[in-house]
Symmetry: C2
C-alpha cells in the first residue's frame, strides 16, 4: 500500500518537527490509519503527533486507540485538550473509555465533561456491564408520525450531527416511545408533502438497553440491520447500537470463549499488548486448579498399585487410554460450547444431545477399540512384546477405549450444559478441564476391566 | 414475544388450510421470523406455507433458510416457481445457493435463470471459493463525477432497485473504475445544483474480489463501513459486500477455528442440523490420527519398563506430569491460534513469541513444580506413602514439571506458526494435538530426570 511506503517519510517529518507539513499529509488519511501510525511512533513523539492533528480528526483517532494507549495520552494532555477530545468523542466510545480506565482517572475525566455530556455519561455507565446500554450512542434524531416528510427532513438536517446514523430514521410518539423505523431511502424517494405516517409499517425491531450485548449480536445477525434502536424499560428510544460495535462484541466473545476453552482465563487484551505478568496471571490460575485436580490420578493409581506391580505392562497403555478419553471429551465440549454460544442448542436440548453423544461416543470408541485391538495383536505376533497373555490384554485395552471414549463424549458434552445451568460460562468446560475430569475416571475404567479380564492370568 | 404466542394459532391456520388468513397474518412478520416458523412446520406443510406467502416476501424468506432446507423446498416447487424465486433472490444469496447445492441441482437451476442473471451467476461463481467475489452483490448504482447531485439522485431513483444498498453512493469513471464513495446523507443535505465532484474527497476504501473473505472482515472492522465496494483486478467496481455477510463470515471462521482447536474437522453446519454420520466423520479422522500418535507413548514407556519395574511409584505421577505439559501447551496454542487469526501477531513475530513463551513456561513450570514438591513432601511426612526416598522422588517430579510445562508452552506456541508457515491452518494445532505431541516428550523428560536423580536409591 502507498501509505505503508509513506511511513518512513512521515516518521522523518515527525523527527524534524515539521508539524504543518505533517498535518497536510495526514488530512488525506483515514483515522484508523493514523491510529496505526501512532503505534509506530515513540511515546514522546506520539503526543506531539496527536497535537498536530486537525481538531476534528484527533477525537476520531483517539477513539480508534487501545484503552492503554488512550490512558497514556490522557496523562500527557492538558485539561483543556482532554476536555476538547472528550466532548468530540462519540458517546459510546466515551462510555468505553470511562469504563476501562482506572477509577481515579475516570473520576478526573468526569469532572472535565460538560454538564450535558456528564449527564449522558452517567446514564450510559448506569447500565449493567456487558449490557447493550453501554454500547449505545444516544445521538439520534427522531421524528413524529404526523409530520410531513419535508418537515422531517428539515428537522434531521438541523439536529442530526451524528456520524453514526446509518440509514434509518426513527419515529417516536410524544413521550419518546419508539413507534417505527423508516429507511433514509424511503424518505428521499417519497413525495415531500406526504406524512411520515404514510411510510410507517408499525413494524420495528429493537433491543433493550438492559439486554446482554449478546442479544444485539443475535438480533443484528437475524435481521441484517446495521443499526438497532435501543429502548429503555418503558419503550422510550434512548439511542442506537451500530454494526461496528456489534461486530467487535461478537469477535471479543469468540476470543473469550476460545481462550477459556484453551484452559485459561480470557486475556481481555490482545496478546501483543498485554503485559507479561498480566498474561501469566490469566494462565497460572487454571493451570494450578487443573494440576490439583489431576493429583487425583495419583490417588486413583495408588489404589491399583498392586495390579500395576504384577502387570507392569498395564502402565504402557495408560497414557493412550487416558488421552483418548480426553480427546473425545475435547471434541464433544468444543461442539457444545460453540453451539450454546451461537444459540444453536439451548439448555432444554440436553437430553437430545446426551442421546446423540452417547451414540457418537459408542461409535467412536468402537473404532478406536478396534484399532487398539489389532495393533496389540499384530505387535504380539511380530515381537512377542506383550507376553503370552496378549489376548486378554488386547481385550482390556479395547474395552477400556470404548468405555473411556464413551465417557469422554458424555462428560464433554454435558459439562457445558451443567455449567450453563449453574450460571457459569459454558466455555469454562475447557479441553484441559474435560481431560482432567476424564483422566481419573479413565484410570478407574481401565483397571476395572483389567482386574476383570486379567484375573487368573496376569493378576 | 407476541409472535411466539401466535405460533400455535399459525400452526392451526396451516392445519386448517386457511391460506388467505395466514397470508394476512404473515405480512406483518419479518422474513427471518417466517423462516424460523417454516422450520417448525412439517415438511409437507412447509411447501404449502411457502406458496401462501406474498410473492415479494417468499424469495426473502427463502434466502434466510439453511441450504439443506432450500434444497428440500426446490424439490417440491415447480420450475416456474423456482424461476421466480431465483430471479428475486439477491445475487450474493443466489451464489451461496448455487455453491452449496449438489452439482446436479446447480446445473438444473442455472438453466432456469434469465440470460442476464445467468451471466451474473457465472461471473460470481468464477471467483475462487472463500473469496470476496463470492459474497458480492452486483446490484449497485454508480454515478459520474461531472453530474449534478440532482442528476445523480434521479439516476439512483430510476436504477437502484437494490435493498442491500446501505448508505453510500459510488462514483466511477467512464470505464467503471471506482473513484470515490459519498454518503447518502451528503447527497441529501447538499445543494442539488452542485456537482458530484464537489462532494468527493478522492479517498475510498475498497477490497478486491479475489481477496480472501477474511480481508473483508478485517477491513470492515478497521474502517467501520457497513458496505465495502468490491473491485476487480482493473479497479472496476463490480459490486458491494455488506456487513451482514461479513458478520456471518467472521462468525463462521471463529466457529471453524474453535472446532479445529477442539481436535476435529470443522462441522461446516450447525450442530443441530448436521446429520449424525456427517458429524461422526468429522470427529473420527482426527481421533484416529491422535490415537495413532499417542501410541508412541506406549513405545516410549516400553524403553523405560526396567525403571518402572524397579520403581512402580514413578507410574503414579506419570499422568500428572503428562497432563500438565498438555495443559500448558493448550494454553499457549489457544493464544497463538486466536492471535494469528485476528492478525494480532504474524509469522515474523515468532521469535518474540518464543522468547515470551519461554519465560511464561519457565515461570508457570516453577509454580507447578513448587506445588508438586510441597505436596509430595507433605504427604510423605503424614503417610510415608512414598517410602524413604521421597526426597529424590519429589525432586524428580518437580524438575519434570518445570521441563514439561516449559516444553508444552514452547511447542504449543510454535506449532501454530509452523503450520501457518507450511500453509496449513494454524487452528489445526488443537489442544489434543499439542497434548499428544507433548505426551511422548513428557515421558522422556520425566524418566530422564528419574534415571539421573534416583540412580543408586530406587533405580
Amino acid at each position: 500500500m502507498l501509505k505503508e511506503l509513506l511511513k518512513p517519510e512521515i516518521l522523518e517529518l515527525i523527527e524534524l518537527r515539521q508539524w504543518t507539513d505533517l498535518r497536510e499529509v495526514l488530512t488525506s488519511w483515514e483515522p484508523p490509519e493514523i491510529a496505526d501510525l501512532m503505534l509506530d511512533v515513540e511515546q514522546a513523539d506520539r503526543v506531539l503527533l496527536f497535537r498536530s492533528l486537525p481538531r476534528d480528526i484527533s477525537a476520531e483517532v483517539f477513539a480508534y486507540l487501545e484503552s492503554d494507549k488512550q490512558d497514556d495520552l490522557l496523562h500527557e494532555l492538558t485539561n483543556q485538550e482532554t476536555r476538547e477530545i472528550l466532548s468530540q468523542l462519540p458517546p459510546d466510545d466515551r462510555t468505553a473509555l470511562l469504563e476501562e480506565l482506572p477509577a481515579e482517572a475516570t473520576q478526573k475525566l468526569l469532572t472535565l465533561l460538560s454538564p450535558e455530556d456528564l449527564k449522558e455519561a452517567r446514564l450510559l455507565l448506569g447500565y449493567p456491564e456487558q449490557s447493550i446500554g453501554r454500547l449505545t450512542t444516544p445521538h439520534f434524531v427522531s421524528v413524529r408520525a404526523d409530520w410531513t416528510i419535508k418537515q422531517a427532513l428539515a428537522h434531521i438536517r438541523t439536529y442530526d450531527k451524528n456520524n453514526e446514523t446509518i440509514n434509518r430514521i426513527y419515529v417516536t410518539d410524544n413521550d419518546g416511545r419508539l413507534l417505527d423505523d423508516i429507511t433514509l431511502r424511503a424518505f428521499i424517494f417519497s413525495d415531500p408533502k406526504e406524512s411520515i405516517r404514510s411510510l410507517m409499517d408499525e413494524n420495528v425491531i429493537s433491543v433493550s438497553a438492559f439486554d446482554d450485548q449478546e442479544v444485539a449480536v443475535r438480533t443484528m445477525e437475524k435481521y441484517d440491520i446495521p443499526a438497532l434502536p435501543v429502548v429503555d424499560s418503558n419503550g422510550v428510544l434512548i439511542g442506537i447500537v451500530t454494526f461496528d460495535d456489534v461486530m467487535d462484541i461478537s469477535e471479543e466473545e469468540a476470543t473469550e470463549d476460545f481462550q477459556k476453552f484453551g484452559g485459561m482465563e480470557a486475556l481481555d487484551k490482545p496478546y501483543n499488548t498485554i503485559s507479561f505478568l498480566g498474561m501469566v496471571k490469566k494462565r497460572a490460575g487454571w493451570l494450578v486448579i487443573l494440576f490439583i485436580g489431576e493429583m487425583f490420578t495419583a490417588t486413583a493409581l495408588s489404589y491399583f498399585e498392586g495390579a500395576l506391580e504384577k502387570a507392569i505392562i498395564l502402565s504402557m497403555f495408560l497414557p493412550l487410554i487416558m488421552s483418548s478419553g480426553g480427546n473425545s471429551g475435547s471434541q464433544a465440549a468444543t461442539l457444545m460450547v460453540r453451539a450454546i454460544s451461537l444459540g444453536e442448542v439451548t439448555l432444554k436440548d440436553w437430553w437430545w444431545v446426551m442421546r446423540r453423544e452417547f451414540l457418537s461416543g459408542l461409535f467412536l470408541g468402537l473404532i478406536l477399540g478396534a484399532i487398539g485391538f489389532v495393533r496389540i495383536v499384530a505387535w504380539s505376533a511380530m515381537t512377542h512384546a506383550y507376553g503370552d497373555h496378549y489376548l486378554p490384554i488386547a481385550f482390556t485395552v479395547s474395552f477400556s477405549l470404548v468405555g473411556v471414549v464413551l465417557w469422554g463424549s458424555l462428560s464433554g458434552s454435558m459439562l457445558p450444559f451443567l455449567l450453563k445451568k449453574l450460571n457459569f460460562d459454558p466455555a469454562a468446560s475447557s479441553a484441559p478441564f474435560v481431560a482432567t475430569l476424564v483422566d481419573v475416571t479413565g484410570i478407574i475404567i481401565y483397571f476395572s476391566f483389567a482386574v476383570w479380564l486379567l484375573k487368573g492370568t496376569l493378576l
